[in-house]
Symmetry: C2
Subunit: 324 residues, 2 copies
């Protein structure tokens, strides 16, 4: 009983556009219990959402005792670490500056720190993942979009205003593909997200005439999973989609390496399920575009955290960084 009483816990909350997940995490990065999932879009006000989040977590908190909770860490799209606010997040129902950290802290009665989801991922990798013990690394999340978290000298790089690390929006093909939401041309996200992979596949299918199993799908509903499965089965066009994606990603990573000289780059998210199909061309083109002083030094690795839990773990890691 004494051991359990002395144990401290952190709550991790991952606010997603569809669903919000939470859990209670111990120092070893084990999720000892989960909160019930909350449907983010169902709540007209942030206050009502936070009330529901409290209800969802209450049984789990009761189990360990509120006094053992050191704090709550929240990862949210457009979350700002400096201000504790979520600012104009396009995929969340509340379209203004929401003081989430304050609302959560008041409702739960314990300290709350907040950052964006990509930075939370980086913290999770540093505390519990493949970047454990590293002081300089970058995480790149290749999902529906491309997110990034940068750790420099042992700390998440927040920049002047808390918005650093928007690497998905850096331009890697000037004058290239127009991004569906930002309207910027040639950004990393336009090519190397799951969305970008589907766009590349469609481009290849319309520009070329060679056979591909992808031609049997309704192109309006093509998914990156279908492109992946075709590539695994040896479809030449689908495989080339991954080589093209990996080339662009590799070139972008080379630029990032020459910026912050990280020990490792950790790839994360749905796209990495493609394994060597994406890793091999990415590594090849990263190395090709590096100055010799950087070559064959950067560890390019896949995250080994369970994707479902990683966001909760990452958010909870904010708590152990809190002062006092």
């Amino acid at each position: 009983m004494t051991t359990i009483a002395n144990q401290q816990y952190a709550i991790g909350v991952d606010i997603g556009g569809t669903s919000t997940k939470s859990g209670i995490v111990n120092h070893r990065g084990e999720i000892v219990s989960y909160g019930a999932a909350v449907v983010t879009g169902k709540f007209a006000t942030p206050e009502a959402f936070v009330d529901e989040l409290y209800t969802a977590l209450a049984p789990a908190i009761q189990q360990v005792g509120l006094e053992t909770i050191k704090g709550i860490g929240v990862g949210a799209p457009n979350g700002n670490y400096y201000t504790g606010t979520v600012d104009y997040a396009p995929n969340l129902p509340w379209r203004s500056v929401v003081p989430f950290a304050r609302l959560v802290s008041e409702k739960f009665g314990c300290p709350c720190a907040l950052t964006n989801d990509a930075n939370a991922t980086a913290l999770g990798e540093m505390m519990y993942g493949v970047a454990t013990g590293m002081k300089d690394f970058i995480t790149i999340t290749l999902g529906t979009g491309v997110g990034s978290g940068i750790v420099a000298n042992g700390h998440v790089l927040y920049g002047h205003d808390g918005f650093a690390g928007e690497l998905g929006h850096t331009i890697i093909r000037p004058g290239g593909r127009k991004h569906w939401a930002t309207n910027l041309c040639g950004s990393l996200e336009a090519y190397c997200s799951a969305t970008g992979i589907v766009l590349t596949a469609k481009e290849f299918l319309s520009q070329r005439s060679d056979e591909s199993v992808l031609r049997h799908y309704n192109l309006d509903e093509l998914t990156s999973k279908q492109v992946y499965e075709a590539a695994v089965k040896g479809d030449a066009l689908a495989q080339e989609v991954y080589r093209y994606t990996g080339q662009i990603l590799g070139e972008a990573l080379a630029n990032f390496v020459m910026f912050s000289s990280p020990e490792a780059i950790v790839l994360f998210g749905g796209v990495i399920k493609a394994g060597d199909l994406i890793m091999q061309p990415t590594k090849e083109h990263m190395e090709k575009n590096l100055l010799p002083i950087f070559q064959n030094k950067v560890k390019l690795v896949f995250s080994d955290l369970n994707e479902a839990d990683a966001a909760i773990l990452g958010a909870s890691a904010l708590v152990w960084e809190m002062k006092a």
Copy 2:
């Protein structure tokens, strides 16, 4: 007399490919006396070079008293802050790993810290220049090459191995102009250095047939100064060279902003003599390529440090950062 005795000084040394300059600097960033210039290439061994540096500085040191010198800061191409070594610097006569900080410290009898010249420039701006008081900024030196120093959270970003901040070698035009030394294609330095500006002018002259005063020069000996002077006098082709250079620089800066979200970007070096010719297109294209959350926030400014002194000041700034 008491005031003078209590005053502490830092020595700043700027090792350049041609000439090495040094000076004794007070806390206000005033160079109270200079060492004699040393011709870097004249010395077969680093030891002989350090001996000469000592001789060059001895009268100035005697003037203030060795006991008032807190330490020596050295800026050198390929200088590594972590190791205190200069590694395989292509423009210096010693082609290996030279333990400069140790050699200098032993010869002068006081502590020595070393970094690369671009990082020293950033430190100089932070302590004595337009970035005074800023915790997050980037300096870009547009000279024969393109150097950069990144300050994040109040500290120079060194990265895992001390080599961070090689922004001049990031690729901004994939598949573009081949760099004369690195062989990388489309790097920032290939376009936005003084060397790059001359190459752009030559390309424009050969691809186009419109009149330009630049056609009256021997193209093998064309200099960026001549391109600048032609642009100032209203030469349309020369002005377009600057618009082209500024566009590429602006696009690169947008990428850098989305990486580290700096408060300011400080431009430095010979190319900035072009003033608005380079500033205007750079700012325009930087803003155009930024996500809205970054727009109209970053101060894009020219350095106001005297170029001849800035390298010495920057190197000396390393001393005030030394522990104890």
